[in-house]
Amino acid sequence: MKKRWYDYLWIVSLTYLVLGFFNILFAWLGLLCFFIPLIISLVWGTKGYCNRYCGRGQLFGLLGGRFGLSRKKDIPGWMKSKWFRYGFLVFFFIMFFQMLWNTYLVFAGAQDLRQVVTLLWTFRLPWHWAYHGTLLHPGAAQFAFGFYSVMLTSTVLGLVTMVLFKPRSWCVYCPMGTMTQLICKAKNRKQ
């Protein structure tokens, strides 16, 4: 099948992850992965982002498919159940707002900047080597650390399920995918 420009967006996703190791402020670019799918689903009522432009999905597809890093087994039933998918979306939301709260505390001067990336919402990895100061408020850097934590955590989870199950198993429980599908369902319920 003929390759299109958007079939190479995995390079963008990979570059994003790498940049976070050099300068954490690049993490802000990750907001595109949040806003673009939401805008596409809200305006056009489709999952065009998942279907075409998701570089992360492509990266898992490539590593698990062409590079053979996946067992290619069926995902367990509970992981594709609505209960788990919606539950994970809610959990992700709570953790996201907690991250926003920490950012707010730094902006408000109630908390110092913490130069750590929190993996799997638990493990605090020192990440000071990717921070070289900012002309902006330290709160902007705190958001970058927090957002990169979200992105790295979801990548790690995606890689684990890629190895255990099918390459794009992450797509089954991806909170953005679940949210955009809910938007599409609401928008197209009359049809």
């Binding site: 689903s41 999952k47 279907n51 995902i75 594709k80 099918k166 390459p167 089954v172 928008k187 197209n188």
Partner: protein, 68 residues
């Protein structure tokens, strides 16, 4: 006389996550994502090759024999 049967992909729409992995691998463009909600098979085009079923991360596509 036995009815003619054809192999084709059948999607469990209620469990489909509409990721579009199936669309990417279909050699006959016989499957599409209906309004970001679920995958939909074009019965006329589908020959039941099973590529979509193999690719589907949620394993919600089955190849079934259906009467023509």
């Amino acid at each position: 006389m036995e009815a003619r049967k054809k192999r084709r992909a059948v999607v469990d729409g209620s469990a489909c996550v509409a990721c579009g992995c199936c669309v990417k691998v279909c050699p006959l463009s016989a499957i599409r994502i209906w309004h970001g909600v679920r995958a939909e098979v074009n019965g006329e085009r589908c020959v039941g090759c099973g590529r979509c079923a193999k690719e589907c991360p949620a394993s919600v596509i089955e190849i079934q024999e259906v009467p023509v």
